[in-house]
Amino acid sequence: MAVPFKYVFRSFKTRKLTTAITVTGIALVVFVFAAVLMMAYGVQKTLVATGAPDNVMVTRKASNGEISSIIDGDTRNVIRTLPFIAKDSNGKQIISEEPVVVINLEIKKGGMSNVTVRGVSHEVTLLRPQIKMKEGRMFNPSLRELIVGEAISKKFLGAQIGSKIKFAGDYWSIVGVFESNGSGFDSELWGDSDQLLNAFNRGSAVSTLTFKMANINDFEKCKLAFETDKRLVQFEPKIEQKFFEEQSEFLATFIRVLGIFITVIFSIGAIIGAMITMYSAVANRTVEIGTMRSLGFSRRSILTAFLSEALLISLIGAVVGLFFASFLQFFTVSTLNFSSFAELSFSFALSPSIVISSFIFAVVMGFVGGFLPSVRAARLNIVSALRGG
């Protein structure tokens, strides 16, 4: 039988200061670790929420984002002839042909940043029902008017209702603020598709074309239609949600890899802290170890007891770190999305897998930090240990 857990737990409580310092060290590392994963997950969650699972987005093949995609007017017309596009109650196709450009705006706190401007068709509210006007009104398609995502409205100068911003040689009035349920659209400015095409002299060439599928189960047929029609072979339809999910991959992976690399370096400090604490625990309890060994407890029982103590420290560190990291969910940050080269606002997001990963990371730190001291405790010579080492 193992050394009773109450021995482990009470011994752990006796060294309050050193234990608290070690727990703090591990908690800090877990906090950073969880924060990084929450940030990467936040980016993914935001961009995944941007797309709908029954919308299909068409881009030019080999384009790595909306900005670099071009769909000419003839192709637009061909796509419109496909039978898979859903129609509204008036029989009008639910489709949005969107020029996407990036402009430069001044940040309230100073500096400049790129912002996506998306031209949308009238049917966009049917295509993306998550879009809700928060303030003001929808833009007038006949005028140089824009509505702004609430993240942009909060962060940039001149992006508030009543203001005007200048791009493409013209002034554009801000007439409304919309919200999109925390999706990437919150970080965009929207205007009428034709107004933007005209302002940027793009003729009829839009960047992307998104339509709602009449029946999403027909997606494979739709894909086949693109692959077999010579006029569409240069274009690729994708489920909108999947498209945005792929768009998030690079940035999320970059944050994750860089963050984990930094966290692993931090963790070395926490592991050394745990090791020092556990070595001192072994040194202070040498006689107790000798006594328990003389009573018949095996080396393995002693090893388990000290390792459990190290793991207990790391688990408490994980709980503390995660507790504080969970408050990050209330924060929204923004960064440059590498795929669109534009501002992307997102919130830190916690998921069960992040909680599990953080616990595993903490346990690994506790195990690595506690293993050598525990081995030392288990290998102590009984006679020497009874003499106090």
């Binding site: 039988m1 009773p4 009470r10 003389s294 009573l295 018949g296 006679v383």
Partner: protein
């Protein structure tokens, strides 16, 4: 009476760097069941080393060591640990109680290595704590007990598994005269009333008076 402890031509040396330090020389000794053997001798004479060998917490460099029917010199590490838990009870000079455990929990420790149920363990622990006169202190921590009481808890811990032999290394060495006398009386009672075979190392001549046999060690030899 049969010999419960047979020490045959046992030698023990320690190595310090590359220097061999002989402690026991070719020592032979039999202890019969129910005996209260006291080992005396000056510091460094090897009495504690002999006690440790008999108790299975140290191994002889040479010779045979048969305790309670087991050749303990031939047991491996885990076998020896199991043997200790079943066959030997220890009483140390400085009690060696676990400070974070209560008297009850300290006494219960060796029983955790047995297959007894929780209720059986409780019964055993309360029984031995009553034997040592501490039935009313079972939930006290070691720091809440006097030296004599701590040693009585240690004795309760040593006898709770009903071991065949009891080894005590200067059990009165850290106690005042009255407490020491109480402990010696208790040891004598364990020997006479509960028929425990006891091997005790001591410097105390009063302690030696309780012995059924007294042996002197000097420079690793019985004299």
């Amino acid at each position: 009476m049969s010999a419960i402890i047979q020490v045959k031509n046992v030698s023990k040396s320690y190595w310090r760097n590359s220097l061999e330090i002989p402690v026991l020389h070719d020592l032979t000794l039999d202890v019969t069941e129910g005996e209260f053997l006291v080992l005396m001798g000056p510091s460094g004479s090897g009495k504690t080393t002999l006690l440790n060998l008999i108790a299975g917490i140290d191994r002889p460099s040479k010779g045979e060591l048969n305790v309670a029917g087991t050749d303990i010199a031939k047991l491996n590490e885990s076998g020896l640990a199991k043997w200790r838990s079943a066959s030997v009870g220890f009483v140390f000079q400085f009690y060696n109680l676990i400070p974070v455990l209560t008297a009850f929990e300290n006494v219960e420790l060796p029983l955790l290595l047995t297959k007894l149920s929780k209720s059986e363990r409780k019964k055993h622990v309360e029984n031995v704590l009553n034997i040592v006169g501490l039935g009313d202190r079972i939930y006290h921590y070691p720091k809440q007990l006097s030296g004599g009481q701590e040693q009585r808890v240690a004795i309760a811990r040593a006898i709770v598994t009903d071991p065949v032999i009891l080894v005590a290394d200067e059990p009165t060495g850290d106690l005042d005269k009255t407490s020491a006398q109480e402990i010696l009386t208790l040891m004598e009672r364990l020997n006479k009333e509960f028929k425990k075979t006891i091997v005790m190392v001591t410097h105390d001549p009063h302690a030696a008076e309780k012995a059924t046999r007294l042996l002197h060690l000097e420079k690793g030899d019985l004299v």
